[in-house]
């Protein structure tokens, strides 16, 4: 039998980008330990709909930790207290009956707020468009073995490629820097021969775009790695810096 819990929430409500926002108190009496955090919000929204109040807007899609749509500051931590877990995979069994949890949106000037807990993360898309791609010939797929890649390299590249673009790194960073996100793409493609043709201009253009979007600079706090649902290492940021220096020297 699932244990029934009462959970108190303080949720950021804001009608629109320019509207004033504030934390609003809610209580969910029918929470249980098997629910995910987003299911808790679903239950709260049903409650609000019944009361004919406006439900809380929050982003989500896959609810299995792979799409990167979800993203909330839960109890002051990006994606909540459970390491390497997107908030859609955070379960209420990590909480106790009667707990109060503060829920806020990602806060960054480069992620303008749309409504309640939803922010606009298209800045990430523009960083990727600036260089996070490779050139591939169209037509029949090339034989997979035509391009040998050492197993260790493939594994390391996969570790960086596992970024789901949720934005937790920016949200948790005291400087609101997008360095981990940007570096993950750069490090991923720098490890693979497919990434080689655009290697130099990729790092320069992506770093430029990151700055233009208004993200802060990196102060090596490493908080991003600690909150990343995929545990992406700040070693990627060191790689990005080496790639950048190489790009400058090879001009």
């Amino acid at each position: 039998m699932a244990k029934n819990m009462t959970i108190h929430l303080k949720v950021w409500r804001q009608a629109g980008p320019e509207a004033p926002g504030r934390l609003v108190d809610y209580t969910v009496k029918e929470a249980n330990e098997h629910m995910s955090f987003l299911e808790l919000l679903d239950v709260l929204n049903e409650q609000l709909i019944k009361e004919e109040a406006e439900p809380i807007e929050f982003d989500n899609d896959c609810r299995e930790g792979i799409c990167g749509s979800c993203g909330l500051m839960v109890g002051g931590t990006a994606h909540g207290p459970q390491p390497r877990t997107a908030v859609c995979q955070l379960h209420m069994r990590h909480y106790n009956d009667g707990d109060t949890i503060v829920v806020e949106p990602w806060r960054a000037a480069a992620f303008p707020l749309i409504k309640d807990l939803v922010v606009d993360r298209t800045a990430f898309d523009r960083i990727v468009a600036a260089g996070g791609y490779i050139s591939a010939t169209t037509g029949g797929a090339a034989d997979a073995n035509a391009l040998p890649i050492a197993k260790e390299k493939a594994d390391a590249a996969m570790d960086f490629a596992s970024c789901i673009g949720c934005g937790a790194c920016v949200a948790a960073c005291p400087n609101s820097s997008a360095s981990l996100f940007t570096a993950a793409k750069i490090a991923h493609l720098a490890l693979l021969p497919q990434g080689h043709p655009e290697r130099t201009r990729r790092v320069v253009n992506m770093v430029d775009q990151m700055e233009k979007e208004g993200f802060g600079d990196c102060s090596n706090h490493a908080e991003c790695e600690a909150v990343c649902p995929k545990g992406i290492s700040i070693a990627g940021i060191a790689t990005m810096r080496r790639e950048y220096m190489k790009a400058m020297l090879s001009s």
């Binding site: 806020e104 609101s176 320069v204 600079d217 102060s219 706090h221 290492s233 060191a238 400058m248 001009s251």
Partner: protein
């Protein structure tokens, strides 16, 4: 052109370039404070002329000394200008703050040191002006060493200053803040230069902390020794 004609200056103004410069200047300044700390310890040498001879050797470097000093000024200016710029951009990058914010701990390196780099830095900057006025541009005393050489008596000036509580206790506060700056700074500089590997990071961080403590503690001895021994002294102005 592969990097689309980005000039070197533009590259150093980029988010990565700024970090590379902060790291380089930070490590240069760290080397400087380390040597400075070791030099100061010669005050405690059994040879009463050790400190003044050390200072005299430096003063006699002539043009070489000027080049080193110019380099130091440049390092400080670059380090400070970028440090303030990073801080200002960080303030702008989060217009609305969090009501609640908690670090998750390991592998995070977020500490009181990392969060206060700008404040410890600015205190060091203000201190530096006061420090140079007190010593480098302070009273010029003279003494004759055992070898018969007439040299600047900086040792006597130090004794005079550190017998005063303001110096004896103000300096330790600043060097401890410097220790905090370096606790995050040393590892951070390596990461900024891309000179890290995941396997080596814990070691680099630990060595950074140890070095930070050594530098801070090393600077504490002389002021506290002078204050608590209160030896009588008389400094002589050049005739």
């Amino acid at each position: 052109m592969s990097n689309r004609g980005k000039s070197l200056i533009a590259a150093f103004r980029s988010p990565v370039g700024k970090k590379v410069l902060t790291g380089l200047t930070g490590l240069g300044l760290t080397l400087f404070v380390l040597i400075h700390m070791l030099g100061n310890l010669s005050y405690l040498s059994s040879d009463p002329d050790a400190y003044n001879n050390y200072a005299d050797t430096l003063l006699n470097l002539g043009p070489v000394l000027y080049i080193i000093e110019l380099g130091l000024v440049a390092f400080f200016v670059i380090h400070i200008v970028i440090g303030i710029n990073i801080y200002r951009r960080k303030r702008k990058a989060r217009a609305v703050g969090y009501t609640q914010y908690k670090s998750v701990g390991q592998p995070s390196r977020l500490t009181i040191s990392s969060k206060t780099m700008i404040f410890t830095g600015i205190i060091i900057m203000v201190f530096l002006v006061f420090h140079l006025l007190s010593f480098k541009y302070g009273t010029y005393y003279e003494t004759t060493t055992a070898d018969g050489a007439v040299v600047r008596d900086l040792k006597c000036l130090m004794t005079e200053k550190f017998q005063q509580p303001l110096y004896a206790f103000g300096y330790p506060i600043v060097v401890i803040l410097l220790g905090f700056h370096l606790r995050h700074g040393i590892w951070s500089a390596f990461q900024s230069l891309g000179a890290t590997k995941p396997r080596l990071t814990p070691m680099i961080y630990t060595i950074g902390v140890i070095l930070a403590v050594l530098i801070a503690v090393g600077f504490l001895f002389v002021p506290l020794y002078i204050f608590f021994s209160q030896e009588s002294f008389s400094c002589v102005l050049p005739s």
